[in-house]
């Protein structure tokens, strides 16, 4: 029996190198397993050996993607693995995107790759063809995720026949293969329709993507007369965080007065976002919510004015269903305040 050579990609956090303060670390290689790689190595037993780990900071991968891609390419070339395992990244956005990219680079190099992502992880938007097992939204699901990744990875690496996503337990990749069903499409469609009309469960054969197309709003005709609303997912709140906005997994949004406020100082406001290193934004919140220059532009007449409050939430591990509801509610609040156009700063 051949022993599979396994290479593992993880971020700075799971490597134990620190949280957001270390998120700009460039890629670095380690021999053998690191962090969750130890459990991963154990699961392969004597069928696989985890030979190398690549660790990269989440911000580095997100912002210097070309440099990160080159590092991954060189690593795969040097290590020459039979299987690349990335993550699991659970619901972590930047990490998930990095894991999806690693899977893409591996595929381009003709190597089997598997990752583990929560089904709402934006990594699935970046590279939908990744073989990703569905995971919980946080590392409490580590053991289960690793087990599923090893099972799928072993099949991918050995070239074993792989069934459709729903059978093998990976997330749908948007690939449809021709095949024969027992009954014709018309019968199946009518059965589905009847089930739907009766409120019975049914399984669609053509799932619709979760991210929907949003029709663009028409252009603001005259900015000099427009009232602008300001929104951020960067969790900028009054000092002391009076509404206890959460650092992550927030379900709500909040609005705060900025009438007659000229600039956001670190004395009066702070950043409570837990998904990035927020000390700079807390010191000068204008870096996230650019009120100082908006007031300049208002004084100069470039814009008509600002809505008297801004809206914020924590864009960190927020469920899609909550994002949608928050978006709807924020839009309604701004419209009620007579808004003509809005700026959204996404951190």
């Amino acid at each position: 029996m051949t022993v599979l050579r396994v290479a593992h990609y993880i971020n700075q956090f799971f490597a134990g190198l620190g949280g957001e303060e270390s998120a700009n670390r460039p890629p670095e290689r380690r021999d053998g397993p690191v962090g969750p790689g130890r459990a991963l190595a154990g699961l392969f037993k004597d069928e696989g050996r985890l030979v190398s780990t690549l660790v990269c900071g989440d911000n580095f991968f997100a912002e210097r993607t070309e440099a990160a891609r080159e590092a991954v390419q060189a690593w795969l070339q040097d290590v020459s693995p039979d299987l690349v395992v990335a993550g699991p990244a659970f619901a972590a956005g930047r990490y998930g995107v990095a894991c999806a990219e690693v899977c893409r680079i591996a595929a381009e190099a003709g190597r089997a790759a598997v990752t583990g992502l929560h089904r709402e992880n934006p990594g699935l938007l970046i590279y939908r063809k990744a073989y990703a097992v569905p995971t919980a939204d946080s590392a409490v699901g580590m053991a289960q995720a690793l087990g599923a990744m090893v099972g799928l990875g072993r099949k991918l690496a050995t070239g074993a026949a792989l069934g459709p996503a729903e059978v093998e337990g990976y997330l749908p990749r948007g690939v449809r293969r021709p095949g024969l069903r027992e009954r014709p499409g018309a019968e199946r469609a009518v059965e589905m329709l009847a089930a739907k009309l009766h409120g019975r469960p049914f399984r669609t054969e053509l799932p619709v993507d979760a991210y929907e197309v949003v029709p663009p709003a028409s252009a603001v005709p005259d900015l000099r007369a427009a009232r602008i609303g300001v929104v951020t997912t960067g969790a900028i709140v009054p000092a002391g965080n009076p509404d206890h906005l959460k650092r992550c997994s927030e379900t709500r949004w909040a609005r705060y007065e900025i009438r007659e406020v000229e600039t956001l100082t670190g004395e009066r406001f702070e950043c409570v976002h837990g998904g990035f290193y927020n000390a700079m934004a807390s010191q000068n919140p204008n870096l996230v919510l650019p009120l100082d220059v908006l007031r300049d532009l208002q004084r100069e007449g470039a814009i008509g004015g600002l809505v008297d409050f801004y809206c914020t939430t924590t864009g960190n591990d927020q469920r899609l269903v909550d994002c949608k509801r928050n978006g709807r509610e924020i839009a309604a609040a701004l419209r009620a305040a007579g808004v003509n156009g809005a700026l959204l700063v996404a951190t």
Partner: protein, 67 residues
């Protein structure tokens, strides 16, 4: 609405129609490493670009303006 973000490809894939390039995830609108005046000027350019995006008709997710 215009979205200012350090990661435009992500915003566009999620369906945002007017997207403007920000600086970095931790400081989307500006750069604290610059002297305060230069930081503010950079922030102003980004906000002006976002306002220009608001005033521009688009048909689909579009990165508006240069970096």
């Amino acid at each position: 609405m215009a979205v200012i973000t350090a990661l435009p490809p992500l915003a566009m894939q999620a369906g945002a129609n007017r997207v403007v390039q920000g600086v970095k995830i931790e400081h989307v609108c500006g750069d604290p490493a610059l002297p305060p005046e230069a930081d503010r000027a950079l922030r102003r350019r980004i906000v002006e670009q976002a306002l220009m995006a608001l005033g521009t008709d688009v048909q689909q997710p579009t990165l508006v303006g240069a970096v």
